[in-house]
């Protein structure tokens, strides 16, 4: 695996460009290559560094050294001294003033590159997932034992609340609060369910957790059942995930044999049975009420909420539904404490997040990093830059149900609240990185076609709205649309977001809003000029 040891940023605001930032960048690229450092140093342009006295600036992380104003002829010495020999070139440094622009927060990371931090994937790839003893040797089922014998259900919920853990399925609802809702219901029968119907295109984090560490989900579900007072659980797993299904089935058998499932677990009065339900191919079943319908043997059509599953869930009983990644966080939190967990990530979104990186980058992969990392870091450090040195245009987050994020937001920390403040969504953790060959109209067409295909058809804003949106986007792509179409599209987006019954229809409106907010000029070019700026759409198709 390639590791990046330094990140070099060149300012590319207007003044920097006038003063030759592009030449500096090109020379840096050539020199880094000449020294054979291109495998370990990432190079990128950055706008709005927040100081204008010494442009163009070259900033080197992790030392956070700011050089400037830098001339092309300085580059050779800089690369040789700093990047090759590791000595700071004092006479090229800019005067000692802090950066205040978009990357100012990077200075707090001085001396450290954001490292991968594995919590939910800490055992994946290290233990044998088909061997329960391997799991036990690595703290397995110790947390369940601790919870059952040393803690009360209220204490377990309290610890999860204190940790600040938020649902990793996309919505970011506080997990401890949800547990509290189910726990306070007075019912002789309750259920806990693990939502493993991971169907967001581009997201495969849950699959790797289930394939690499299946026992951790069984343990977490048992803890959750103890906390909320349930004695039966289901894992609803996607039909396509055959290997994960086999490993889970085996793991459940092993856990039953060893007495971690069944009656009187750890010699206490706690009983818990766990079953697997395999999906049959429907994206909508990832929606929790559709998932419940599906377990009951019906069409996976979401219910009307309220009542919420926490009060009226599976077979009408109070039910807790949690995502795989959310559950995988629970045992480490109880084992190490909420304070430990809060030492990762940001204040409002503690802990780590598993991201899957896809698209036009050099390395597509899966990473688990503390919450609050930025897209720039993800692309520069973990994805090893854009493929063929292309420019980053946009990232589409969270499978289909996230946002289209323009390059201007690539320095926004990726956590639930920062993203919400910026008006975009984090989604389920897929990051589809696109270069300038991507046309936003074409991308939106693919996304809306996905929603149209996967709409369950229950409520009409979604059933008809996704169909109309596809038709309008096709009209734009073919050059048949007028500017009025864009107003109608924006209108439709609002309708989808506000009136759809469930999350599918609500998020179907997001890409429409995003392309009209961030890429309006590009969309309008299809209409006003009859040209697709990215050269993807054939705008003359309809014109005879």
């Amino acid at each position: 695996m390639r590791t990046i040891r330094s990140m070099v940023l060149v300012s590319n605001d207007l003044i920097s460009m006038q003063r030759g930032a592009q030449d500096v960048y090109d020379r840096l690229q050539a020199e880094i290559k000449a020294y054979g450092l291109d495998q370990e140093i990432s190079l990128a342009m950055v706008s709005d560094v927040g100081r204008h006295d010494a442009l163009p600036l070259v900033i080197v992380y992790p030392e956070a050294v700011v050089y400037g104003p830098l001339k092309v002829e300085d580059v050779h010495g800089l690369v040789e001294e700093h990047l090759y020999k590791g000595r700071i070139v004092v006479n090229l440094q800019a005067s000692n003033r802090e950066l205040s622009g978009k990357i100012a927060w990077l200075n707090t990371r001085k001396g450290t590159l954001p490292a991968e931090q594995r919590i939910v994937l800490r055992r994946a790839g290290i233990i044998d997932p088909t061997n329960i003893e391997d799991y036990i040797l690595n703290d397995g089922y110790a947390t369940l034992g601790k919870a059952l014998t040393y803690m009360t259900p209220a204490q377990v919920i309290d610890e999860v609340k204190k940790s600040g853990l938020r649902g990793r399925g996309g919505a970011g609802f506080p997990t401890g609060t949800k547990w509290g809702f189910v726990a306070k219901e007075k019912s002789p029968k309750k259920y806990v369910i693990c939502n493993a119907d991971e169907s967001e295109p581009g997201t495969y984090k849950d699959r790797l957790i289930l394939e690499g560490d299946p026992h951790s989900i069984i343990e977490a579900l048992a803890i959750a059942a103890f906390a909320v007072g349930a004695d039966e659980g289901y894992i609803y797993i996607r039909g396509e995930y055959k290997l994960a299904q086999e490993r889970l089935k085996l793991a459940i058998l092993q856990a039953e044999e060893m007495g971690f499932l069944g009656q009187n677990i750890f010699g206490t009065a706690f009983n818990f049975d766990l079953r697997i339900h395999c999906g049959a191919g429907a994206y909508i079943c990832g929606e929790e009420t559709a998932l419940l319908e599906s377990i009951e043997g019906k069409r996976g059509q979401p219910r009307t909420r309220p009542p919420f599953p926490t009060t009226h869930g599976l077979f009408g009983k109070p039910t807790l539904v949690n995502n795989v990644e959310t559950l995988a966080n629970v045992p480490p939190i109880l084992l190490n404490g909420a304070t430990w967990y809060r030492s990762f990530g940001t204040l409002s979104s503690p802990g780590t997040k598993v991201f899957t990186i896809l698209g036009n980058v050099n390395t597509t992969r899966l990473i688990e990093v503390p919450m609050g990392i930025t897209l720039r870091e993800v692309i520069g450090i973990y994805a090893h830059g854009m493929k063929n040195g292309a420019n980053f245009k946009l990232a589409q987050t969270g499978g289909s149900s996230g946002s289209i994020i323009p390059a201007s937001l690539q320095d926004t920390p990726m956590d639930f609240d920062s993203f919400a403040k910026a008006g975009v969504a984090l989604g389920s953790g897929a990051l589809l990185i696109c270069n300038e060959d991507t046309c936003v109209v074409d991308l939106a067409k693919v996304l809306l076609n996905f929603f149209r295909t996967e709409s369950c058809g229950k409520c009409f804003p979604c059933r008809i709205g996704t169909q109309r949106a596809c038709e309008m986007l096709e009209a734009i792509a073919d050059g048949r649309a007028t500017l009025k179409t864009l107003d109608q599209l924006m209108d439709l987006s609002t309708t989808l977001v506000n009136l759809s019954n469930c999350g599918l229809g609500q998020t179907a409106g997001t890409p429409l809003k995003d392309i009209l907010t961030y890429f309006r000029a590009e969309v309008e070019a299809h209409i006003r000029l009859g040209v697709c700026p990215a050269g993807v759409c054939n705008t003359t198709e309809a014109v005879q």
């Binding site: 967001e200 396509e240 049959a280 043997g297 896809l358």
Partner: protein, 159 residues
């Protein structure tokens, strides 16, 4: 009782096997349909009405479930089922060219079966093998990191 022979299996046998394994209860409808679908290649009308009788569940609701899920088919399929992933990650990674080539090579549109019963071409919203996009699955064989020029050679492996 209508009994037909499909793919060498008898419909009734398949239904019996599925009911024996999962039990004749409403909650088990999806696993039952899944197993019958696997045994017969699709869910013929005879199988659905038999399941409806045995579960004491209206045929409309059995058909409702059978037609809802993409892994269940109520129509016969070809000997080889080609699934193309049309999700955004596959699309961005060059899926469009793969799709054009695939369609031309098979001379089929989405959801069509070739007249000789060899191929069925279907599109999937996501096949769950992201990371090696673009992806095509033929029967149970996964082909990742595909490019258009690999298609003819891959199709030639199937008789």
């Amino acid at each position: 009782m209508p009994v037909e022979t499909i793919n060498g299996h008898r419909v009734l046998e398949a239904v019996n096997a599925a009911l024996d394994r999962h039990g004749a209860s409403r909650e088990e409808l999806i696993p039952i349909l899944n197993q019958v679908n696997q045994a017969l290649g699709y869910l013929p009308a005879e199988a659905l009405s038999e399941i409806s009788l045995r579960l004491k569940e209206p045929l409309s609701s059995v058909l409702g479930v059978a037609s809802f899920y993409s892994m269940l088919s109520t129509r016969p399929r070809g000997r080889h089922v080609v699934q193309f992933c049309e999700s955004a990650p596959c699309h961005v990674a060059g899926g469009r060219e793969v799709w054009e080539t695939l369609r031309e090579a098979l001379k089929l549109a989405t959801d069509e079966t070739s007249p000789d019963g060899k191929w069925t071409l279907i599109t999937a919203s996501c096949l769950g093998i992201c990371g090696v996009e673009p992806v095509v699955i033929i029967d149970d064989d996964v082909y990742g990191n595909l490019t258009a020029d690999k298609i003819p050679e891959i199709l030639a492996r199937y008789s």
